[in-house]
Symmetry: C2
Subunit: 429 residues, 2 copies
């Protein structure tokens, strides 16, 4: 079964909204074995939307639209779908009741809100458990399916998972199993070279890709059952992990921070953070993980020097002798975070994230990252990458390096990847 996504919204073509909906829909389709061959974006223009719908229905079994269902005049998706399917819009009583319930205790519902309860006649409505605009599934006379979803991700995601996936998965037959190998500290080029022989296969397929600071390999197999598809993937995943070694931080895991939280919980250890240039990013990423309170109780954002001294006990003489961006200060921050919080492990990060503040001795991109554990403190130095990177990239890279050091420490691995060299190099303990 082939599908296409049509994202509707001039704001997408002006670039002021990033299309996360399409990625989310794509992931859910792939999980139920629906092939996505194209995705496209059109503005809030009935003529172009109609042309895109007709073209998509000509070559695909399922067409999914996102966006253009709101209460405003430029929301034209529903009317266009009804026209293409050749059915009128009709009031959907249950959706109207939900709208009325939603507006209870709020300002009165306007006529433009009420029109959201109008749906193409004969459709399967999908309730909106978060917002106001319901979605629906429409079957055309030619047996094709049009799925209409709201644009806001907070509304689209639950509607897709709760109502659309069950609606569609009955219609799809082949099953896909995918595994995602996640690495930190490996470039895409050298990563691809190491598994070149495996990326030629047809089933399972293996594809590498880079995502800013990380490099992933997705292994995907198709079979008649989930078990068969999974059995096809397994040996390929194991071989890739063997070749990559300890830069692999997980297979089918959420992200690096969730791996670190799980490892800390397993070991019964608590972590504290002291952040200067990352400004709370490491703490934020750790507490993104539900249940992080089991392993994380205290974080310090010591952006100013006096905060480093007062909260972490970093000696003023140390700051004066070496400067805030230095190996001894990172070390003292990590130790201070651990001691001041009574935690088992402490992270300290200090550096120049830019764009200002760089000097010839301490350029933008120079960041020291320390991990204090018991009597030992380990420090890595991130040197500026060969080419220019932005503040956000440098901060994310430093935060990931800190999290990866914790992972490596807890797994008894060397605290730096052996090869290929990454921008972060060790200074020893």
């Amino acid at each position: 079964m082939n599908a296409e996504i049509i994202s509707v919204g001039t704001e997408l073509l002006l670039g002021h909204t990033i299309n996360t909906d399409a990625a989310f829909v794509a992931r859910e389709l792939s999980a139920i074995g629906v092939n996505l061959l194209y995705a496209c974006t059109v503005g809030d223009n009935a003529g172009r939307l109609r042309a895109a719908l007709e073209e998509a229905l000509g070559r695909s079994d399922v067409v999914i639209t996102t966006g253009g269902l709101g209460p405003t005049d430029d929301d034209l998706t529903k009317e266009t779908i009804a026209a293409v399917a050749g059915v009128p819009l009709a009031l959907h009583e249950d959706s109207l009741r939900r709208l009325e319930e939603y507006f209870r205790g709020r300002p009165p519902m306007g006529e433009n809100q009420r029109k959201q309860a109008m749906l193409p006649e004969g459709c399967t409505p999908f309730p909106n458990d978060i917002g106001t605009a319901p979605g629906c599934g429409v079957r055309t006379a030619a047996g094709k399916i049009i799925i209409m979803l709201p644009g806001p991700p907070s509304e689209l995601v639950p509607m897709l998972q709760r109502y659309v996936v069950p609606f569609l998965s009955g219609a799809a037959h082949a099953v896909i199993h995918s595994s995602m190998i996640r690495t930190f500290g490996l470039g895409e080029g050298s990563g691809a070279l190491k598994i070149a022989d495996l990326t030629d296969a047809a089933n399972p397929t293996a594809a590498t890709y880079a995502k800013e600071n990380e490099m992933f390999v997705r292994v995907t197999a198709r079979a008649e059952s989930e078990e068969e598809a999974e059995a096809l993937c397994r040996p390929v995943v194991e071989e890739i992990c063997r070749r990559y070694g300890d830069v692999v931080y997980g297979v089918d895991v959420e992200n690096l921070e969730s791996v670190v939280v799980a490892l800390l919980r397993e070991r019964g250890l608590r972590l504290a953070t002291a952040e200067s240039c990352t400004g709370g990013l490491v703490a934020k990423r750790i507490t993104d993980v539900p249940g992080a309170s089991d392993v994380f109780g205290t974080g310090f954002v010591t952006y100013a020097n006096d905060a480093k001294t007062r909260l972490l006990g970093v000696a003023a003489s140390l700051l004066e002798a070496h400067g805030a961006v230095s190996e001894p200060v990172a070390r003292a921050m990590a130790e201070g975070a651990r001691k001041a919080s009574g935690s088992d492990l402490g992270i300290g990060i200090t550096g120049v994230a830019g764009p200002g503040g760089g000097t010839p001795e301490k350029p933008v991109g120079l960041i020291y990252i320390a991990l204090s554990a018991g009597d030992e403190t380990f420090v890595r130095r991130m040197t500026p990458p060969g080419r220019i990177h932005g503040r956000g990239w440098l901060r994310e890279r430093a935060a990931s390096t800190a999290l990866d050091m914790v992972r490596r420490y807890l797994c008894d691995l060397p605290l730096e990847p052996a090869a290929p060299p990454s921008p972060a190099t060790p200074l020893g303990t």
Copy 2:
């Protein structure tokens, strides 16, 4: 001049990478007056890419591809563009020299890396100042332009800004001016109603859209010069700001945190944060702003109760009597952050971000947000929204509410929006 974007990559159709490139390219095109009518995504498949390229060249003046330029075998964009343009690939000496320089001090360059210096004959090459794959601009025999860009955003963004915009802006003539009005605390539906008469106009246009916690209006005008276009926008922007009132936090500003940092700097005040359920997110957002160190020196992530007591001086008896998620504890956290850091203002946030940890009395979504300033402390209570929201949404909403309270305090505005009601309600001082 009309343009289309073709994003290339199976990872996009599998949904494991969010297409931020398309949004970035769209924004830059709009800024130089190039109309984007369609954007589409195809997988790493030469046949489908070729079909998409030919279709796009049939209806648009400029076609921009992103992705598929890497060193791996499934990177087919360059070969396909050369075939469609009817030119061979030729070694580009300068690109080869850049590649060799890039690999100096790294593991030796493989043959798959070297092929990145091959470009369509007669093209205008665009250097890659960050990574390895150069881009280029190709003119077809029919006078159309194909622009080929690498996929990683860290490489695409500088290439686009430094080389592609100058290359294209010569070819475009009409100038667009856009202004973005940003609000926090206003729903899209009621926001749209208030300006319904303004969104029907053709030049300038006004379009509303919602982005999770915020609601924006973009006003766009077309004219022969930047000055004329800007003059067309100005009265419409002023009228919308007048109607919306104090929920507008800025026009053509980066985001809420940059407005708060600028206001603090203007007033010569320093802010400190004490975060429980947001876990460092407010500090992270403030320090996303370059130069935040002028106004922000210390943040506390007091996820555990004992951290609240030890670092912020929240009395254990208070925690016992009211629980960590309570109005008095938020108040004590804000006051503690201000005093412990010697700052002028202090933020305190405590709540239940979920998914676990909710009770009938203190459900997921209940979050108290306090602002301490001098002798006064203000507290707002965020109650669970009518429908289910995720941990990330609740944390972002709480962080934005805290930042908006600082903005409102510094601008002598009521600490809550007057109308329409938002999920956050005041508890008074």
